[in-house]
């Protein structure tokens, strides 16, 4: 059952990512991205990362995607015709992409991973909270500075426009 779910979510993720990459309209790309994020959240659930899955939906769909949509609305003539996004260098890009994909597949299948799979599904939130407050305390506090910088910087740049 879990395997079937994996293939379903993987198919959803890749198909919608394909829509995002190959559609001609920015808004369709955004819709593709919406389903990609949802599919990836499903993948996280199958990997027993419940908190990360919900955080993925919350930040990517609720935050970044909304921000992207706002950016799209603000930065172009919002009519069907002008929402086009042009592509260039399609052939070299395709060659590079297929090449990278080939190398990655080869590396993944040739490497002997030290697999030690866990099979239980446990709530992760409390453990994550403890880790953030102990082992990852410094990165955690640095994140707040990063966010502060992003907020001030982005607000400053946007206002100057």
């Amino acid at each position: 059952m879990q395997d079937i779910m994996f293939y379903m979510f993987a198919a959803l993720t890749i198909a919608s990512a394909g829509v995002m990459v190959f559609s001609r309209s920015v808004i369709y790309s955004a819709v593709g991205l919406l389903f990609t994020f949802f599919g990836v959240a499903g993948i996280y659930v199958l990997l027993a990362a419940d908190f990360v899955a919900v955080a993925q939906v919350m930040i990517y769909v609720g935050g970044i995607l909304v921000l992207l949509l706002f950016g799209v609305m603000l930065s172009q003539r919002v009519t069907g015709v002008n929402m086009r996004t042009e592509t260039l260098q399609t052939v070299p890009a395709a060659i590079v992409a297929v090449g990278v994909l080939f190398i990655l597949f080869r590396v993944i299948s040739k490497t002997e991973w030290l697999v030690k799979a866990k099979t239980t599904f446990e709530p992760t939130t409390a453990k994550l909270g403890t880790l953030l407050m102990t082992d990852y305390l410094i990165p955690f506090e640095i994140v707040s500075v990063l966010l502060l910088g992003a907020l001030i910087g982005a607000a400053f740049i946007a206002r100057k426009g």
């Binding site: 991205l33 990362a49 990517y60 970044i64 992207l68 697999v115 426009g161």
Partner: protein, 102 residues
């Protein structure tokens, strides 16, 4: 064959390549940003998958959260730059933004 670590890694690889393709080919700055988000998602799938399938504790998941946070900060600043660009050039095609002087 039941789903194991490799399947997740393959999925992430495909997602990564799609993101890479978008970054290379798209002219529109917002779509390039979307491609970057795809790449970050691919990396995150790897983090969480390794956290599940190797002996490490939940470090992979913590890293995934940090990556999500960084992606948010990056998107915020990048979009602000895009909007600023639009105000100046009335276009967000990256090819036309080739001058450093304001």
């Amino acid at each position: 064959m039941s789903v194991g670590l490799n399947h997740y890694l393959f999925l992430a690889a495909v997602l990564f390549v799609l993101g890479l393709y978008a970054v290379i080919t798209k002219k529109n700055a917002v779509t390039v940003l979307m491609g970057i988000e795809l790449i970050l998602n691919a990396a995150n799938i790897n983090f969480v998958a390794f956290s599940r399938y190797t002996d490490t504790d939940m470090d992979g998941q913590v890293f995934a959260i940090f990556v999500i946070v960084t992606a948010a900060a990056a998107a915020a600043v990048a979009l602000a730059i895009v909007l600023n660009l639009y105000e100046r050039l009335k276009s967000i095609n990256l090819d036309e933004a080739d001058s450093l002087s304001g």
